[in-house]
């Protein structure tokens, strides 16, 4: 029986989530009174709310709080992801108003939905119970289903939303069934309880392993890792580009927060059992993502496959089952956030102006039309390919190092080989951009101050983050559960 007096209401642990939820309500109410031509104020309010939540996350650093009957954690791990997710959301909201006006989608609900998705992601990062993990995943998914089909009169967007909804619901079914089996096997829904059960009764528990298997399917789907990646290219291509920018980075980060908490913090003693399936997911993601990306002529699809490959690289850090390996994954996630957000932001900037800006042919000679965007895109591509001194190189270095320490040679070899393959398509984008275009140059247009600042910040993060040793130190400290 549940003893209600034991449930300690600890508001500080959930303060960042509460602030974001409060901002959702404020934005929805403001949307009723703000005239349509002043909708950018909703973006301002959202940014203020997100910034307050970001500040409220910082005190959680270094703490070991456990709140609401062990269902939520207020620790460095949660603080790390809160700061990362909130920063990504703030940057997304900053570049949203101009893009939304250009594509005639300037509705107030957009901001409420982005904030809901962010709240779900933060909940997922702080969740230490199967219930809160489930609620976090669903909160972010439901908001993203709507955001994907936000351009509701456009058939590509409708199709994107429908595909994400059906496949996402399917994955949720597996995730939940896995949770039910884990609950049945261990008698607990909290990760602490599950950990206590696993350490006290070793030996093979078929029900538990089956449950973990189903749960991994659901999480791998959200992280868009192979072989559960089929939805990614279609959904990324069809969704409004700003939504793709947001979800490609934030959803993946949040999903890996849950993966880290479940596999590394809760089930390290079962590493022998989960190593092979997770290694398969990592190897398949890197191979399929990097090989199929070569054939893509649409930049959004190319980046979707690149994202699948990077999910594989992030999984590499999980494989050793140690907190040091997880720290490498965390650093990779932060690096991926900077470089991939930047790359998609550049696509967004172009997409707001031109028809079919996501087709690679549109990018021919971009250096002569948009030198700033082309230069930053070059930085992002080099970083995604893992070329020093960008952060992408250090991220790959750290996960490979974790594999060497753990003597896991096969994933390491696949990782290095597929990195070499990936050079081809990342460099191809750069080659396309420097190719001299035929005919008269198109007139140059500005992309607006917010976009310039956001793309510039991403580029700065991509170049500098790897050279600042503190960042990896933070990742290390965040994994001290």
């Amino acid at each position: 029986m549940i003893d209600l007096s034991a449930v300690h209401i600890d508001y500080q642990t959930v303060l960042p989530e509460l602030v974001v939820t409060g901002t959702i309500v404020v934005v929805l109410l403001l949307d009723l009174v703000v005239p349509p031509d002043r909708r950018r104020w909703l973006a301002v309010v959202s940014v203020v709310g997100l910034a307050i939540a970001l500040i409220a996350s910082i005190p959680l650093w270094g703490q070991h709080r456990s709140a609401f009957a062990d269902t939520m954690a207020g620790d460095s791990f949660a603080a790390f992801f809160n700061v990362l997710l909130l920063a990504v959301t703030i940057l997304t909201v900053l570049i949203s108003p101009r893009y939304l006006r250009c594509v005639h989608l300037d509705f107030g609900e957009y901001y409420a939905l982005v904030l809901s998705a962010a709240a779900g992601m933060m909940l997922l990062a702080a969740a230490t119970s199967l219930m809160t993990i489930f609620l976090g995943i669903e909160l972010l998914s439901l908001a993203l289903y709507v955001l994907c089909s936000f351009s509701r009169l456009q058939e590509h967007s409708q199709e994107s939303g429908l595909k994400y909804l059906l496949l996402g619901g399917f994955a949720t079914g597996f995730l939940l069934y896995g949770m039910a089996l884990i609950y049945g096997a261990t008698g607990s829904t909290t990760l602490l309880g599950i950990r206590a059960f696993v350490t006290s009764s070793p030996g093979t528990n078929v029900l538990l392993l089956l449950g973990i298997g189903f749960l991994s399917v659901g999480l791998a789907f959200k992280a868009s890792a192979a072989p559960f990646h089929m939805w990614t290219p279609d959904v990324y291509e069809g969704a409004p580009t700003i939504v793709t920018t947001f979800m490609s980075v934030a959803t993946k980060a949040a999903a890996f927060a849950a993966v880290g908490r479940i596999f590394v913090a809760t089930l390290p003693s079962l590493e022998a059992q989960w190593y092979v399936p997770l290694a398969l997911i990592a190897v398949l993601s890197m191979s399929i993502g990097n090989v199929v990306a070569i054939t893509q002529s649409n930049l959004k699809r190319l980046l979707a496959y690149s994202g699948i490959a990077h999910a594989g690289f992030i999984f590499l850090g999980i494989l050793p089952g140690t907190t040091d390996g997880l720290a490498a994954s965390l650093f990779y996630i932060a690096a991926y956030a900077a470089m991939n957000f930047g790359a998609f932001a550049v696509v967004t900037a172009l997409d707001a102006k031109g028809e079919h800006a996501d087709e690679l042919t549109y990018w021919t000679g971009l250096f002569y039309r948009r030198p700033f965007l082309a230069t930053t895109m070059t930085i992002f591509m080099l970083s995604l390919a893992g070329i020093p001194p960008t952060v992408g190189f250090f991220a790959k270095l750290f996960v490979f190092q974790a594999l060497v320490t753990a003597h896991l040679w096969i994933p390491l070899i696949v990782g290095i080989l597929t990195t070499v393959i990936s050079l081809y398509y990342y460099l191809r984008v750069i080659v396309v951009m420097v190719t001299v275009p035929e005919g008269a140059p198109v007139e140059r247009e500005g992309v607006g101050l917010p976009m310039t600042v956001v793309v510039g910040l991403s580029a700065l993060g991509t170049t500098v983050m790897g050279l600042v040793p503190q960042v990896f130190g933070w990742a290390l400290q965040a994994t001290r559960f």
Partner: protein, 100 residues
């Protein structure tokens, strides 16, 4: 009294019917119903485990699942209706604007 494993078998069978349904049916509405069937199979599991373990966590979880499933229906039906209104075939194999 019906033993606990009977409920678990039933739940497993219902879940399989739902999963197979999603894979072989092509009408998005029917696929969506199959997903709901999967979720309800999970609820049955939770309730059965909850009774068997004599803990209330499973029942609480089932309530959460029911609530979330309701929210998912709201979003899901809205998206499906939008596709239907655009005059497109109710067949996921026809929704292939983005295949390469």
């Amino acid at each position: 009294m019906i033993p606990a494993y009977a409920y678990l078998w039933l739940s497993g069978i219902l879940f399989t019917i739902g999963a197979v349904g999603v894979l072989i049916r092509r009408n998005p509405l029917v696929m969506f119903m199959c997903i709901e069937l999967m979720l309800n199979a999970v609820n049955l599991s939770f309730a059965a485990f909850s009774r068997y373990l004599n803990s209330l966590d499973g029942v609480a979880f089932a309530f959460l699942v029911i609530t979330v499933a309701a929210a998912e229906v709201v979003v899901g039906i809205a998206i499906i209706v939008q596709v239907y209104r655009a005059g497109r075939a109710m067949d996921v194999d026809e929704l292939d604007l983005m295949k390469e």
